[in-house]
Subunit: 220 residues, 2 copies
């Protein structure tokens, strides 16, 4: 029997405004499960200020990224620092604003953002081991920041301002519709824009991510 | 052009241990979107004690069911009391323990549970208007409690103890595998067990819910 491919998914909370986009995460989970992958979830153990999703205001009490990410993972999650790239065949980052708030500070600093050390270690080591990395929605910013100097090609949809900021890192930005994805075979990086299109329909997001998941499983 | 069918989804928080099961909710959202439905989300505006998904312990601070449900709905949500059944073609309850904690107290009282008045009003009115109602995982307990006296047929999987408790309401319980669903054409009730099978794989849950969603759209 062929051994199942092991995929590490990095979450950044629960919900698009201050964490991982839920529909994107579940689209990845369902499709990778369908393709026979064994999934394991990781998130950083750090405190953040959550947002009220109804009125957009910040909360007074704090939450923990790892603990809230566990809601999507049904408890099957470990601290990101414990991720050992040698044990996995591929690395995946769903989107949601949490990726640009907690995994790096792109939301604040754009192309010159700082990346969380545990994220940088993971990306660089999967990349060094020539294992594919997928990122959805806003999460490709991480890959632009870390692999831009190598001229990685990726997509964040069709916003010219976002594309211009991405290209400051040295990365090449390619326009892509919501239900599709972009593959950089040389760098083994696959990206899909998903809810970078704010008015996207859930099944369009699912379709783009399904294509990305198939490509990832073929490369892994 | 044919008018889109309007579906009301009732959420009960965000995450399987104290709210709506996320993979179930998104499976419904993706499939109903694929089938052309227009979705609107509702949840009760009430306070609850959240659970830490990593160690299973209760939190000290409280959260609000409507506000946490908004994470799944990306903010597109209203208070359950504002749901007007005449404006919709069907009613859907995803599962997760929140359904048995916040929408009724089945978790505590079983077959003799109390149902939240806004849930009871919604179920009785959709049923009176002969509009289909779907429920996933543990959420069919609500329909057993409210429609059991009419002899509704439904499933919560294959646990004999759960089935026995369901039958105390007068409802008929039918065994069903994770990737399938049960239709009661007379009462227009469709149910799928999903994560009532705790070890289910995400794509199996998606398959069962996809079947349920298609059946619901045909009946609506």
């Amino acid at each position: 029997m062929k051994k199942a491919k092991k995929i590490a998914l990095v979450l950044a909370g629960c919900g698009n405004k201050d964490g991982t986009e839920i529909t994107e995460a579940v689209s990845l989970i369902v499709q990778l499960s369908q393709l026979g992958a064994e999934l394991k979830f990781f998130a950083p153990d750090q405190i953040y200020t959550p947002v009220n999703f109804i009125n957009g205001q910040k909360h007074s009490e704090k939450r923990n990224v790892l603990e809230e990410s566990a809601r999507i993972a049904r408890g099957n999650i470990e601290e990101l620092k414990k991720l050992n790239p040698s044990e996995f065949d591929a690395l995946v980052f769903p989107g949601g604003f949490g990726a640009a708030l907690h995994l790096c500070n792109w939301a604040e600093k754009g192309a010159k953002c700082d990346v969380l050390p545990s994220v940088e270690v993971a990306v660089r080591e999967f990349h060094r081991q020539s294992k594919p990395i997928a990122a959805v929605c806003v999460a490709p910013t991480l890959l632009a920041r870390l692999l831009g100097e190598e001229g990685v090609t990726l997509t964040l949809g069709n916003d010219p301002e976002v594309a211009a900021e991405i290209e400051k890192t040295g990365a090449h930005h390619v326009e892509c519709p919501v239900d599709d994805y972009v593959t950089d075979r040389e760098h083994k990086v696959i990206t899909s824009p998903a809810y970078m299109y704010g008015q996207a329909l859930p099944h369009q997001v699912f379709k783009g991510i399904s294509g990305l998941a198939k490509e990832l499983m073929e490369m892994a």
